[in-house]
Symmetry: C2
């Protein structure tokens, strides 16, 4: 049988800002919270990242994405010069 990750919840200080930033970097769509308290980033057809908004402290997470080399170059352009480049290499 095949198991797929359908969605995960990631805490943030500002759920809309977090979702917008990740979606812009990855070049995917996102949506403000409608039904629940989360903002959704549609990473691909099968996976959604739901940003929650926490006032309490939370530890940093580690989430590694895999993209093609052309997509990686586009993502670097999205990040631009104002943000330090990620250490990840294209897969």
């Amino acid at each position: 049988m095949t198991v797929h990750l359908d969605h995960i919840l990631i805490p943030s200080r500002n759920r809309e800002a977090a979702a917008r930033k990740l979606a812009e970097i990855l070049g995917v769509t996102w949506a403000p919270a409608r039904v629940g308290p989360f903002t959704a980033v549609y990473v691909n057809d099968g996976l959604t990242i739901d940003f929650d908004e926490w006032t309490q402290e939370f530890p940093k997470g580690h989430y590694c994405f895999r993209v093609s080399e052309p997509a990686f170059r586009i993502i670097l352009e999205h990040i631009g010069h104002g943000v330090s480049q990620p250490s990840a290499r294209p897969g």
Copy 2:
């Protein structure tokens, strides 16, 4: 372009116990830490969950998996009668 989640890090109290338990429930393979400090659960061909071991407090996470209805029944059997059944429904 298509973006895939390649791996994520999940904190745990006991990385080997956490990886073994999740792998047994999902019916997938896992491996003890070799190179790094993580135990890997191979959810599918494209996604690995790496369990880290933390002594400090950490908040609970939310990770929702999607499986077929037959796979869901098998997973319920894996969970057995000693563990409360998840609220998830087959997708």
